[in-house]
């Protein structure tokens, strides 16, 4: 299975020519300013997994409204009169997709690709992407926030739980790293 690079950033028959990424510290300062503005304007930090949660809860209600109304967790998102799609966290998620796309256009990086380590097949990569996604989705809801909300925003706002989250997050990733070297290395 191979994927041809097609998309707005690559001309037909040509190989992609993405711009190099800018300096990490410079991007970090920019991200910090965005986070500060989010806090200053909206009174809350950034987030991403909540958008998926709301959209999913909306979808689940379409299929099984009674089930959503009787689930102690889901009812908060989509029970009764709740409007999961107009929640501000969903707007934030839509913004992330728009901003990512525009920034990708500028960097000539919008084209189809399976990003993977050199030693594995595209099929393996997609399998593990899905598997990792499942763990991340579950873990993010369990921790009441993902790397954006608990990690980035909560740490900057000095939440004790968020710093515990950061340590647990790095511990989890480093704990598993020796066993899945092949996924990312030669």
């Amino acid at each position: 299975m191979t994927i041809k690079p097609i998309g707005p950033s690559v001309r037909k028959g040509k190989t992609p020519n993405p711009r190099p990424f800018p300096n990490s510290y410079a991007v970090g300062v920019a991200l910090g300013v965005v986070l500060f503005l989010a806090v200053f304007i909206t009174g809350g930090g950034l987030g991403a997994s909540g958008a998926l949660q709301n959209v999913w809860a909306w979808f689940e209600r379409l299929i099984a409204p009674h089930h959503v109304d009787t689930n102690i967790y889901l009812v908060k998102y989509a029970g009764g009169e709740a409007q999961p799609l107009t929640a501000t966290i969903v707007a934030l998620g839509i913004g992330v997709v728009i901003g990512g796309f525009l920034s990708g256009l500028f960097g000539r990086r919008v084209y189809t690709e399976i990003v993977k380590g050199p030693a594995i097949s595209p099929r393996t990569r997609l399998l593990f992407a899905t598997l990792g996604g499942i763990l991340v989705g579950f873990g993010a809801r369990f921790a009441r926030g993902c790397t954006s909300s608990q990690g980035l925003s909560g740490s900057a706002l000095l939440s004790v739980g968020s710093w515990a989250f950061m340590m647990a997050f790095f511990a989890g990733a480093f704990a598993v790293s020796p066993f899945i070297k092949k996924l990312w290395n030669d």
Partner: protein, 407 residues
């Protein structure tokens, strides 16, 4: 009014939505420019081959932190009104650990997978699908472990509160810690990955110096406390005090004590000796200093919305001090007992001996023993008294952000 702003008063629903889309777009663009739409770049962090994730993340954390607490120190931003992720310690640790494992297995996290998908990375799209499955599984299973998921709740616990250090000290320490870790990351880049530190822009030293300087400024100014908070609301609130809009009659307090639909919290801010002599039944003793009143603020933050708080002292001086302290710290629905405990005993204390007072805040009655609340006047029967008074209690609803982030 300092930030954060009440967006609902300025914007329509669509306008608010647009503000969040713009903020999200800034976030998405920053993540994309970091290269975080590419799983390989993120995963390389955990094999010490590329420290971009680490550098971007902690630079963003310390930049935002210094700006937030700088704005707070200058009175531009009310940190108390900002949503700070609440701490459920064990669920966070277990969820974070699981997320860390999944992060390296899948190479992305929710935010970066959205960015990857927006630039047509197929693996990121599969990751988003997987994350949705994980969210589905969580939603379906969490009712079975709700007890665990809601345990070890520590509320809005912040690092300065937890360590008992001033915010400025914590901010400075975190900035220095991050800079030290960047230095370590660059050493590894140099030794293991053969990168020449001279290739990195020199401007990063200026940026590091700037952050340390800002942290020092935050430390020097200090965060606002009760005095500054009171000054900010004094214009309106002092007038309410002077017009005696918040001093409630003993009769109204008695009515509140009998009202089953009101959660009444009585705070007795007198010296302990006076409290032991006599106090109203179920009044909580709080030592009569501002620090002691500030210490109970966290207990009053998550009370039932139908809560009324009444501060009392022998007359009104110490109760007014407590009232101002609570109000300055955003505790709403607080009142003062008019004429204090002395006034209360004058109405309800049939057996108490009056005695003359020379100074403010002296008890004006003598009891034969330290009766505490074992006395009729501690819990009078409202049917026996027919008092005329003006009702002043009006319940208000707390303002401020209900949630944020991934909520």
């Amino acid at each position: 009014m300092p930030a954060p702003f009440d967006l609902t008063s300025t914007f329509s629903q669509a306008g608010i939505y647009a503000v969040y889309v713009l903020v999200g777009a800034g976030f998405g663009a920053a993540l994309e420019q970091s290269g975080f739409g590419r799983s390989t770049k993120l995963a390389a962090q955990f094999y010490f081959k590329d420290f971009a994730m680490f550098k971007v993340m902690f630079t963003a954390v310390i930049t935002a932190m210094v700006l937030v607490f700088g704005a707070s120190a200058l009175g531009l931003l009310d940190y108390r009104a900002v949503y700070v992720n609440e701490t459920y310690l064990w669920p966070i640790i277990i969820g974070g650990f699981t997320l860390g494992i999944g992060f390296l297995v899948g190479g992305l996290c929710p935010g970066t997978s959205l960015v990857g998908a927006s630039t047509l990375k197929i693996d990121a799209m599969f990751f988003v699908g997987g994350a949705t499955i994980g969210i589905f599984v969580f939603g379906e299973t969490v009712p079975y472990f709700m007890d665990f998921w809601t345990q070890s709740y520590l509320g809005r616990l912040t690092v300065p509160d937890w360590l008992g250090l001033p915010t400025g000290v914590v901010v400075l320490l975190i900035v220095l810690m991050a800079l030290f870790m960047f230095w370590g990351a660059e050493r590894i880049d140099h030794k293991v990955n053969g990168e020449d530190p001279k290739d990195a822009p020199r401007a990063r030293y200026a940026a590091a110096g700037g952050l340390v300087l800002l942290a020092l400024v935050v430390l020097a100014i200090g965060q606002p406390g009760t005095d500054e908070y009171w000054d900010a609301i004094a214009g309106e609130e002092q007038a309410r005090l002077d017009n005696r809009e918040v001093q409630i009659h003993s009769g109204e307090l008695l009515e509140l004590m009998d009202n089953g639909r009101i959660n009444l919290i009585m705070l007795d801010v007198r010296p302990e000796r006076d409290y032991n002599q006599f106090h109203i039944r179920s009044a909580r003793h709080v030592p009569p200093t501002r620090a002691d009143v500030e210490a109970i603020v966290p207990d009053l933050e998550h009370v039932h919305p139908q809560t009324v708080i009444v501060a009392m002292s022998n007359d009104e001086d110490l109760a007014t001090m407590a009232y101002k302290t609570l109000l300055a710290n955003n505790v709403i629905n607080t009142y003062i007992l008019e004429d204090g405990v002395n006034g209360w005993i004058e109405i309800f204390g049939e057996d108490a001996e009056p005695r003359p007072t020379k100074y403010p805040e002296q008890p004006s009655f003598v009891f034969e023993a330290a009766l505490g609340d074992r006395c009729v006047a501690s819990d009078p029967d409202s049917h026996e008294f027919h008092l005329e008074f003006e009702s002043k209690v009006e319940l208000k609803v707390a303002a401020g952000p209900a949630g944020g982030g991934c909520g």
